[in-house]
């Protein structure tokens, strides 16, 4: 019998070693895997290359900077335009203590999707003529210029869903899908926290968003209130 449910968030992240690449689903407060992030903090995994849409914007990812667990972030949004209320990540970035690779949000999502779909990359108009294009192939297709972008996978993905079943099928709430959906497909080990865990067969198959084949572990989410005030 397949049962992907883990007894605790600490058990779900217990085998994550140092110096791995970890994807984190979520967009600001929506669909952010806070329970698993806090378990990762407790475990003290170090040398993490993190992949997430954002860090330090009302998400809890910034706590991984408290004990300098992050080596590098790959994100679309990490440094605020204004100097107000800098995150720990931003302070450490400006001090040269952590690396940042800024990727356009759609390119980030599609690179992750490409990795999960077994594709060797894709051509996009996004980024042509900008610093993002540096060192990348530019190709003219039907009279327009496109940039070649490579797939982006990870060792682990930490996700947040509204409901999971014991087979790892996931449904989301509101705008909580965001990067959870492509990231579910693009890591060797995928761990999802969910507000509710139900027996297999109790989710409507017509409404499942992430098929269980992608998900390795499921754990019950703790309630954490997140709010971003700009």
């Amino acid at each position: 019998m397949i049962d992907k449910v883990f007894p605790s968030p600490d058990a779900a992240v217990a085998d994550i070693p140092d110096n791995v690449t970890i994807m984190f689903g979520g967009f600001v407060s929506a669909g952010s895997p806070t329970t698993l992030i806090l378990a990762l903090q407790r475990k003290g995994v170090r040398g993490i290359t993190g992949i997430a849409n954002n860090i330090g914007l009302g998400d809890k990812l910034d706590v991984l900077c408290e004990q300098r667990q992050l080596r590098k972030m790959i994100a679309s949004f990490a440094i605020r335009a204004s100097g107000a209320r800098a995150s720990l990540f931003e302070q450490q970035y400006r001090a040269g203590e952590v690396e940042l690779e800024v990727v356009p949000q759609g390119t980030l999502a599609e690179r992750i999707r490409a990795a999960g779909a077994g594709l060797g990359g894709f051509y996009t108009r996004t980024g042509v003529g900008t610093p993002v294009a540096e060192g990348k192939e530019v190709r003219e297709i039907d009279g327009e210029l496109y940039l070649f972008e490579r797939p982006l996978g990870a060792d682990y993905a930490l996700l947040k869903a509204a409901k999971a079943d014991s087979l790892g099928n996931l449904v989301y709430h509101g705008a909580g899908r965001n990067f959870n959906v492509p990231m579910a497909t693009a890591a060797r080990t995928v761990i999802a926290e969910a507000d509710e865990i139900v027996p297999a067969g109790s989710l409507d198959p017509e409404l499942i968003v992430t098929p269980g084949i992608y998900v390795d572990r499921v754990v019950l989410a703790e309630r954490h209130v997140l709010r971003w005030f700009g």
Partner: protein, 219 residues
């Protein structure tokens, strides 16, 4: 410097460009205000690149942390709304299905190049969805102050800041003027009340052609 429009009045003028049935993405900052000024007799469906079609007003209380717009603000959803992941959202954007995007700007060139994601002397920078929206929306309006607080022009012959996208801007709406980007350069179409074409030219580095029907903005 001449007295220009408030940010709210810039947003009101941009809102006149939104027509019934359009799918529209509003960038963070000033563009977010545009939603407040849409004519109630038209139906606009707002796309949030974090995965919503059909979000409504910003909520101050009783919010749901999973229901936010792309600026992270809690929003309501309207009847007929739907949700999707970030990969589908940007396929929608790059695939030219979004009729109009409104973004803020640091600099716009006379060719319609846009720079809006990094101030080089400040470092860092955050791209978010701006590059995909600039490259993918069918029509792009930049809503911004005409000049910097120090009075430096932001509408230039060439952008000096790193670009967001090349030749992407269709219309520039500022506190002083409405300027269309055409194949022949920039066309000054409208002036804010009390602002002259000479005032605008003095704060614009790029040359401006005057529209045959150059007029005062109707607000």
């Amino acid at each position: 410097m001449p007295q220009g429009l408030t940010r709210e009045l810039i947003a009101l003028r941009v809102a006149r460009e939104l027509h019934d049935g359009m799918y529209v993405n509003l960038g963070i900052g000033l563009p977010t205000l545009v939603a407040n000024f849409v004519d109630p007799s038209v139906q606009i469906i707002f796309q949030a690149e974090n995965g919503i079609l059909g979000y409504g007003g910003i909520l101050e209380t009783d919010f749901d942390q999973d229901l936010i717009n792309a600026g992270g603000q809690p929003v309501g959803i309207l009847p007929g709304a739907c949700f999707f992941g970030s990969d589908a959202s940007f396929a929608m954007i790059r695939g030219r299905h979004v009729d109009l995007a409104v973004l803020g700007g640091l600099q716009v060139s006379e060719q319609g190049d846009l720079a809006n994601w990094i101030v080089p002397e400040r470092g860092g920078g955050s791209i978010g969805g701006a590059m995909d929206l600039a490259a993918g929306a069918r029509r792009l309006i930049v809503a911004m102050e005409h000049a910097t607080p120090a009075g430096q022009p932001k509408i230039l012959r060439r952008c000096t800041y790193p670009l967001t996208a090349q030749r992407c801007v269709n219309l520039i709406v500022t506190d002083l003027a409405v300027i269309e980007v055409t194949a022949d350069g920039l066309l000054l179409r409208e002036l804010a009340p009390g602002v002259s074409a000479a005032d605008v030219a003095a704060l614009t580095e790029a040359p401006l052609h005057h529209a045959a029907d150059l007029r005062e903005m109707s607000l």
